[in-house]
Amino acid sequence: MKDTTQYDNDYENKWCPGCGNFGILNAIKKSLADMEIAPEKILMVSGIGQAAKTPHFLHCNFFHGLHGRALPVATGAKLADHDLTILVNMGDGDCYGEGGNHLLAALRRNINLTLLVHNNMVYGLTKGQASPTSRHGFVTKAQPQGVAGQASNPLTLALSQGAGFVARGYCKEIEHLSQLIRAGISYPGFSLIDILQVCVSFNKENTYTFYKDRVYTLDKEEYKADDLHQALDLTMEWEDKIPIGIIYRKDTRSYTDELAPLQSGPLIKQTYDPKKIQKAISAV
């Protein structure tokens, strides 16, 4: 096993004991170590929430932005320098609630970012309100009669919008999750990894016990993840069985390959040429 301690820092962790985020954090470290990406070569971008604190607990570059807005920040960084390796951490409220529109746009762009959604089906940091993935009927202090709407299915959503890399992980399956993250980082387009994350403080339904009997791993040999229909069906499995693994993957080109001004290299690496600019302006 590769050394993951290089990603440790001495900043105090602020999560609750037993929180599923610890597993995700470990999986991230593992995948970075396995891929031999040095701490200073990784950029983590996140929104606001418990999930979004993740970058603080890693030795790395990070931009911990606004609630819901991690994807535009990450997109901007990627457009500025498409050589960067960018991982995005968001909560389910962060990504599918406040940030829903940016997820749709990231899917359309198919920009080469790896998005990890710590999906605990609740708003953790704000003390337990329903999130877009909370099930119909889920009771909280803000929803004392239970959630009246239906839960969002983020993976089906991604597939419906032409996503090329759609996966689900589970916070307890660290090794498996770390492989998903590796695959996501290696993927040339936008990769969405929705992670079943247990919140021990505010979600008393989707617990370790809940997942224990339901979660099963897609067999890489058997399931090729290249059939959209089959993938759509898998994303709709939930009640009794919940598949984890790469659910769909197709060949793709990254957004940054499509943009004219980026063809001579990352924007940040191109040189300032006052003469050329003067000429261009004068020609108008």
Binding site: H56, F62, G65, A80, K275
Partner: protein, 582 residues
């Protein structure tokens, strides 16, 4: 000014008003005349009424005129709409559908065409005869230029460059242009003038939007993220024209929230980044502005004002966002606010804004408006591209120990050395939460106080960078005080009033925040009274001056109808105030 003619071309949206205006403007410009053109159009694509108004002179023109000398009416409604604005000897050329030969049978004409000063001309018929109705614009331009006294060769020259590529089209347009030109041969036009014979262009003719876009390019802006919104879209369109030749990416986003966050991400990663929007979009960017504030990320945001609230008047002009942009976003952090008053100043301001934003690691906001963005103006100086861009960026090489790099290290100036992520061993850690020097979230009283004070500390240096108001006869008893795009109109109003022997001058603020308090106080200290002139309903600059200096305006001349100032309008209103003072 021996020459000062205002030509208005009016008609429905979609009739090609722009084309007529464009030809006239280019012919005059090429001949060495000065000009300024404003664009008036509704928030629709076809129909309704719109017009383009060009003021032409042998002296620099700073603002539109309130009277029309020559009206090219592409439909009858245009006559009705602009009747009251016609100058005493003004002439109207009205396109009538019937044959030009039958001009004398006035009874067949629309009522408007029967007026004394209206010359019915069958522009469209002549165009059809020349090969197609689409050339109506060329006919009209020809007639207009002939009346102004232009030699046909000047017109010809522009037609040739316009239709350089397609020979047949050019030929037809030449015929069309000629017929328009000849149609008014025998018409006397009071404001016809001696056309400059060997003139050469007196400056660059360009729109406010273009000046802003060029400034961004010259400032080495690499990413321009935006969501379409009038009147700001033009800036981005003009930038997009360079995507195939320069390292600049124009990226349309899903919404304005994305746009502002995207440029913050890009700037964090190391490139200069811009967004442009109008008030509604700026509202949505308010939270992101605070993100730039707390993460100390340089970004430039153009807010091209239009009247509000909310959707308001999408294609009209206003100055209602000054106090909003100064105070926008929760809690406090330093920012720059600029409002240029001319195309040259706009170009320079873009360069300055990017420079200062990066120097102080704060957002810079540029306030323009629809009038400014959509009008054609002339430069008075070369637009020079800086030979070098100072980036204020730190690398491992500058650090004794990159592994101990702290993005928010405390310094006396409040400015911490800024490194870029993934460019060395120094980790660049940034958060929207309050934080310690290393960029990690912190809730301690000590860190909070340190960071608030560090951010506030920048204000001193920033204030020193601010220019005081531009003074024009600043020693006068009474000063008219404005900001932003009204600079030219105010100055001409002062000229007019001074020619009527009023003891009056003007101040123009282009640097608004941090407010140049000391310089403003100095500039205002000599006058007996000052009067603000603004396009809003509460005198926002006046309130800002009082907030910052305690000095109160005597009166505020306010216009909020969405249409640009004319010097005359300002002068007349100022006179009323002056009478009160007396």
């Amino acid at each position: 000014m021996s020459i000062d003619v205002t030509v208005t071309i009016g008609g429905e949206a979609g009739q090609g008003i722009q084309t007529v205006g464009d030809i006239i403007a280019r012919v005059c410009h090429k001949a060495g005349l000065y000009l300024l053109a404003i664009n008036d159009f509704e928030s629709r694509i076809r129909g309704g009424h719109s017009f383009l108004q060009i003021r032409i002179s042998d002296q620099p023109v700073l603002a539109p005129h309130h009277k029309i000398d020559l009206l090219i009416a592409l439909n009858a409604e245009t006559c009705v709409r602009h009747k009251k604005e016609m100058a005493e000897n003004g002439l109207v050329l009205l396109d009538v559908e019937n044959d030009a030969e039958k001009d004398d049978s006035k009874e067949n004409l629309p009522e408007e065409a029967r007026e004394k000063n209206v010359l019915p001309i069958a522009f469209s018929q002549m165009a059809k005869d020349a090969g197609g109705k689409i050339m109506t614009n060329t006919v009209a331009a020809g007639a207009c230029l002939a009346l102004l006294g232009a030699p046909f060769s000047a017109f010809e020259h522009i037609l040739k460059t316009t239709f350089a590529e397609k020979e047949k089209i050019l030929r037809n347009n030449m015929i069309a242009g000629r017929s328009g030109f000849d149609a008014v041969k025998n018409t006397a036009f009071a404001k016809a003038f001696d056309w400059p014979s060997h003139g050469s262009a007196k400056g660059k003719l360009l729109s406010g939007s273009q000046a802003l876009a060029f400034g961004a390019l010259a400032a080495d802006c690499r990413l321009a993220a935006f969501y379409p919104m009038s009147p700001a879209t033009g800036i981005m369109i003009h930038l997009a024209e360079f995507m195939d030749q320069l390292p600049v990416l124009v990226e349309q986003t899903e919404d304005e929230i994305s746009a502002v966050n995207m440029i913050i991400g890009a700037s964090y990663a190391g490139v200069r980044a811009l967004t442009a929007t109008s008030g509604g979009g700026f509202s949505l960017m308010t939270e992101g502005l605070g993100l730039a504030g707390i993460t100390e990320t340089p970004v430039v945001i153009i807010n091209s004002q239009r009247p509000g609230p909310a959707t308001g008047l999408p294609t009209r002009t206003g100055q209602g966002d000054l106090l909003f942009v100064i105070h926008a976003s929760q809690d406090e952090f330093p920012r720059f606010v600029f409002a240029p008053g001319s195309v040259n100043q706009a170009y320079d301001t873009m360069i300055r804004a990017f420079h200062l934003s990066e120097k102080y690691q704060v957002p810079a906001i540029i306030l323009t408006d629809q009038y400014f963005n959509d009008s054609l103006q002339m430069t008075t100086r070369e637009m020079e591209v800086p030979t070098e861009i100072v980036r204020f960026i730190t690398t491992d090489a500058d650090m004794s120990s990159p592994s101990e790099y702290k993005r928010f290290a405390v310094t006396a100036s409040g400015i911490s050395p800024r490194a870029l992520p993934c460019k060395g061993r120094a980790l660049v850690c940034v958060t929207a939460n309050e934080h310690d020097e290393a960029g990690h979230m912190s809730e301690t009283i000590a860190d909070r106080n340190i960071m608030v004070e560090k951010r506030q500390a920048k204000i001193q240096g920033m204030t020193e960078e601010m220019k005081g108001p531009d003074r024009y006869h600043g020693e006068s008893d009474v000063l008219v005080v404005g900001w932003g795009s009204s600079a030219g109109a105010v100055r001409e109003a002062v000229d007019q009033l001074r020619s009527e022997n009023f003891n009056i001058g003007a101040l123009h603020f282009s640097d608004l925040w941090p407010f140049p308090r000391k310089k403003a106080q100095d500039a205002l200290s000599g006058c007996k009274h000052f009067i603000t002139v603004e396009q809003n309903a509460s005198s926002q600059l006046g309130r800002l001056i009082r907030q910052q200096t305690g000095l109160s305006f005597y009166s505020a001349i306010l216009k909020y109808d969405g249409r640009p100032f004319t010097p005359n309008w300002i002068a007349e209103h100022t006179k009323s105030v002056l009478e009160e003072i007396r």
